[in-house]
């Protein structure tokens, strides 16, 4: 018996069947256009969850819960009066009566209907495919079942080596299974890659201990001898495995269309026009169930575009049509970069191909260009996706290729065309393909008052899908702002309309001693995580107070506040100073003893110190007490300050050393160890030009010569390495120290917040020559003052840990909890190579599961 539900309303009734990503996006789109005021809207979802992010489904295995992946908790629907039902299956559409039949027997009338039923995983009809321990990879429920099974078995196999299959293989590997992939085609990712690309990818994946069988057909699945299943292959070989996961492609979920007589494609899919209308003008189909121009689009971005066009059409805007979508993809599979753009298989007429292959670093890149070599038609990338964004822009926007087009896929070398500037992109260039946001959309948003990437994201949704476009988005936003003549603010933050250098001068000239005073006189509001540490650093470099003084404590970043480096799990590392890398056996033994007593992970750092990891907050004072007693000092490893002075053994031991680099290194480290600087700084001293201490890659580099010391300044390692510039040659000890005093203090006074010495010097008008004039020729008449300020810092040095251990008030902040003596139970270690390391999320889950 059926009952009919009707609503007391005069508004037409719009029903959406399916609440996946695309169905949800449709609802968002219709709400954005005030469609909830025009229609009564009802949504049916078959799963027990509301829409969730299927693109990031695998993250369900690496710590994200259903709530993290959820795209809505229903609030959006409630707020706009959209009725929604989960666990609800629609079984029939009666087009003549314009009503739906639900599984529970109810029927419901509609005026407009949107089918967003998606697709289902295709399971090849291999005999045995319905055995226990076989799965598909589509829903959160599927993943729960896979996880439950994986906990009991050791071997897993994915049938299908496409994009999703490889992602599923990654998931199986993360679940701790010995993993294999079986692909029917002669190569992996047959749709996106060519033969060569597929084979490079295969090599990389095999290197990760995943067995790959290509060109392999499974004849049947039967009981295994040593495992749950045995897969018998067509060529007579076989594979034993406990768990089988089918990922052999998707099929459109078009049962309702068949049942109700809508036009469907020969191989499935509900036929739609450019407005996403089906053969019944009151019924729309969007996403993976829809067939447009005889094509099914198995990506989320085209689904979103369809949702937008259907919503637009329903609201009377026929202008937003769906006219196909770009299927280029970029992804990381099992840690390997794979990118595919346009005509990856070079099938266009007359096209030509450039190929670059590097068997050593395992990378493969191919560009498919038009017959005249002017346009990019397609590309394949395996092993390094850093070329993808530029290539995609050339492709999507049909931009003329540069003269030496092949350089776009060659490793960078002199003369190569630079990456495409955002200026060169046409207004129609697609910046965010997930939400189909063009450069024009972004400049519109900026024109209407969006002044930051955050604002633009809020308005256009660009960058909020897969997130792959955020770097490009920022460039476009900055470029648009500049084009509008918007002054790029040099204010430190919303609390101070000054640069760091201004604030430094104010602090010094007005003798300001606290953040509150400075804020009161020159700022507004209450400060933030940008201005507080910056001012803390300025106060320290001018007055050199104890950083944990009551009025300074709230200014310190976590590392400065606890005088140790916070690691990813909330524990800390401990790095005592070892000037010049010289350490007595007794001290070395103490470090070993302390590490052993507290079970700390121990590592020699790149700067000749010893790093002890895994100390909890409350252990820090105890451990440091022992180290201070043994004669150690705080290593300032946490601060924006001098970290290390690396050295070789110089003339003391080395056959080639021409000067005593060790003594010089130790003296320099002790001299500058108390300096708070805009960024961390490193030194090195080499005893001869063999340069074993690598002094030229440091902020201050000193190299011994027959005639004294050569001084190099403003080099750095890190993200953008830069060699230091030769500043002065053959200096005696006193002159060397004098010059370093002046350079460092000039930098500390004038650099921006978190500006490295290299960037600072590049920003000085006149660069190196100007710096030489100031420091060597004293053209500004500043040198006496620079030296005096440095001498003040040297004279007022205190070991912060020593001061802290003597200060009961300061020690209080090192309690793990104010009201409880226990430890943080989320800190879990496992052993690797005889030492501790933080447990991964998965390991934690397993450890907790065992305990539970």
């Amino acid at each position: 018996m059926t009952s009919t539900v009707s609503f007391l309303t005069t508004k037409p009734h719009l029903i959406v069947i399916g609440n996946g990503m695309v169905g949800h996006h449709f609802v968002e789109q219709i709400i954005a256009q005030s469609g909830h005021e025009v229609f009564d809207i009802t949504v049916f979802g078959e799963e027990k969850y509301l829409a969730y992010d299927r693109v990031h489904l695998s993250e369900y295995f690496t710590g994200k819960g259903a709530a993290d992946l959820a795209m809505t908790d229903g609030t959006l629907y409630d707020e706009h009066g959209v009725r929604y039902f989960t666990n609800s299956l629609v079984t029939e559409i009666d087009r003549a009566e314009k009503c739906l039949l639900l599984q529970n027997g109810e029927s419901l009338s509609y005026d407009k209907l949107v089918l967003a039923t998606g697709s289902y995983p295709f399971v090849p009809p291999i005999p045995g495919h319905k055995r226990d321990n076989t799965f598909v990879y589509r829903t959160l429920d599927d993943l729960d079942a896979i996880r439950a099974c994986a906990q009991k078995v050791t071997r897993g196999t994915v049938v299908g080596g496409g994009l999703l299959g490889l992602e599923a293989a990654n998931a199986l590997k993360n679940l701790g299974l010995e993993t294999s992939v079986v692909e029917f085609a002669p190569r992996l990712m047959p749709v996106q890659l060519d033969d060569k690309g597929g084979s490079v990818l295969k090599g990389m994946i095999e290197g990760l201990d995943v067995k790959v069988y290509t060109d392999t057909a499974t004849k049947e699945i039967v009981d295994g001898d040593n495992a749950f299943h045995r897969m018998n292959f067509a060529d007579g070989s076989h594979l034993e495995t406990d768990l089988i996961l089918f990922s052999a492609g998707i099929r459109p979920q078009d049962a309702l269309a068949h049942q109700s007589g809508l036009v469907v494609g020969e191989r499935g899919g509900i036929s739609v026009n450019n407005h996403c209308q089906t053969s019944d003008e009151d019924i729309y189909a969007i996403g993976e169930c829809a067939l447009w121009n005889n094509r099914i689009f198995g990506l989320v971005a085209p689904g979103y575009a369809m949702a937008k066009s259907a919503a637009g059409h329903l609201m009377g805007d026929a202008g937003v049509t769906f006219t196909g979508a770009d299927m280029s993809t970029k992804l990381k599979l099992l840690g390997c970069d794979v990118g595919s753009i346009g005509d990856a298989h070079a099938q266009s007429q007359g096209c030509k191909v450039f190929v670059y292959q590097d068997e050593i670093s395992q990378s493969y890149r191919k560009m498919v260009v038009s017959e005249d070599g002017k346009k990019l038609l397609g590309a394949v990338l395996v092993g390094d996706n850093s070329y993808y964004d530029t290539l995609l822009q050339y492709y999507l926007n049909a931009i003329d290729l540069p003269e030496q087009a092949q350089a776009l896929i060659l490793p960078s070398m002199n003369g190569a065309p630079a990456a495409l500037g955002v200026d060169a992109l046409p207004a129609t260039a697609s910046i965010c393909s997930c939400h189909n946001v063009s450069k024009q959309d972004i400049s519109d948003a900026v024109c209407h008052g969006a002044l930051s990437v955050g604002d633009v994201k809020g308005i256009t949704k660009a960058g909020t899908g897969c997130g792959g476009c955020v770097a490009l988005l920022k460039k476009v936003v900055d470029n648009e702002l500049l084009a509008l003549g918007v002054e790029v603010s040099t204010d430190l933050c919303e609390h101070f309309a000054f640069t760091r250098q201004d604030l430094y001068n104010l602090v010094k000239v007005e003798e300001i001693k606290s953040f509150d005073d400075l804020l009161h006189k020159h700022g507004k509001g209450h400060g933030c995580e940008i201005c507080k540490p910056a001012v803390g650093s300025i106060l320290a470099s001018v007055w050199n107070d104890y950083v944990l003084k009551k009025e300074h404590i709230s200014l310190q970043d976590t590392n400065d506040r606890f005088l140790a480096n916070m690691q990813k799990d909330g524990t800390y590392s401990i790095v005592p100073r070892i000037p010049g890398g010289e350490i007595t056996p007794d001290k070395l033994i103490v470090l070993g003893q302390v590490a052993k007593e507290y079970a700390l992970y121990t590592k020699v750092t790149g700067g000749q110190r010893i790093d002890l990891f895994g100390a909890t907050l409350s252990q820090l004072p105890e451990i440091w007490g022992k180290l201070i007693d043994a004669g150690f000092e705080t290593g300032q490893a946490y601060g924006k300050s001098l970290r290390t002075v690396k050295s070789c053994v110089g003339s003391t031991w080395c056959r080639f050393g021409v000067n005593d680099s060790m003594t010089m290194a130790i003296d320099l480290e002790n001299r500058y160890k108390g300096l708070r600087s805009p960024h961390k700084i490193k030194f090195a001293v080499s005893g001869c030009t063999r340069e074993c201490a690598e002094a030229q890659s440091k902020d201050i580099g000193v190299i011994a010569t027959e005639g004294g010391w050569n001084l190099y300044v403003c080099g750095n390692g890190g993200m953008k390495p830069r060699h230091g510039d030769l500043f002065a040659t053959d200096l005696d000890d006193a002159t060397l120290v004098k010059y370093i005093d002046r350079v460092l203090m000039f930098y500390t006074k004038t650099a921006d917040r978190l500006q490295r010495t290299s960037v600072w010097m590049d920003g000085l008008e006149g660069g190196l020559e100007y710096l030489k004039d100031v420091v060597i020729n004293d053209t500004l008449g500043l040198c006496d003052e620079l030296e005096a300020r440095m001498q003040h810092i040297v004279d007022t040095f205190q070991c912060e840990w020593k001061t802290t251990l003597e200060d009961q008030e300061a020690l209080k902040t090192f309690r793990q909890f104010v009201n409880y003596d226990g430890d943080d139970t989320n800190v879990v270690f496992v052993e690797e190579r005889d030492q501790i390391r933080p447990a991964t999320d998965l390991e934690k889950q397993q450890l907790i599961a065992k305990v539970g």
């Binding site: 710590g63 993290d68 955050g454 919303e494 609390h495 509001g525 209450h526 400060g527 933030c528 995580e529 940008i530 507080k532 540490p533 009551k550 404590i553 709230s554 200014l555 310190q556 970043d557 976590t558 506040r561 606890f562 916070m566 990813k568 799990d569 909330g570 907050l617 209080k812 902040t813 309690r815 793990q816 909890f817 104010v818 009201n819 409880y820 226990g822 943080d824 989320n826 800190v827 999320d841």
Partner: protein, 110 residues
């Protein structure tokens, strides 16, 4: 409606302008003492859902666009002290009501 107020610590256990961690019914709470604010004391969960560690009590307090927030010490996302809402991502951490009585700091679930 009655609230179940729980005494967590003394005001003197707090750090001016910064946070401390406390344990409340087996749950980690980050308690912030902000004398310049109307509330004086705020309490939100100590668990940073992005960095995945119990560290929010060790972040810097900031005042951004008229809201008191803490910047996570790990990846610097901001969490509003009044509501636990994250400003950058669509997620929130729990928050508690706080009451000061003399030197005693009480919390209650919301």
């Amino acid at each position: 409606m009655t609230m179940a107020w729980k005494l967590v610590c003394k005001k003197s256990d707090l750090v001016v302008g910064a946070g401390v961690a406390a344990m409340l019914n087996g749950e980690q709470v980050a308690v912030f003492y902000v004398p310049e604010s109307e509330n004086k004391v705020f309490a939100i969960g100590n668990w940073d859902p992005i960095g995945k560690a119990n560290v929010l009590s060790r972040g810097l307090i900031a005042h951004l666009q008229n809201e008191w927030v803490v910047a996570s010490p790990l990846y610097k996302q901001h969490f509003v002290l009044n509501s636990g809402k994250c400003l950058e991502e669509e997620m929130s951490v729990p928050h508690w009501q706080v009451k000061l009585e003399g030197d005693d700091v009480f919390l209650a679930s919301i």
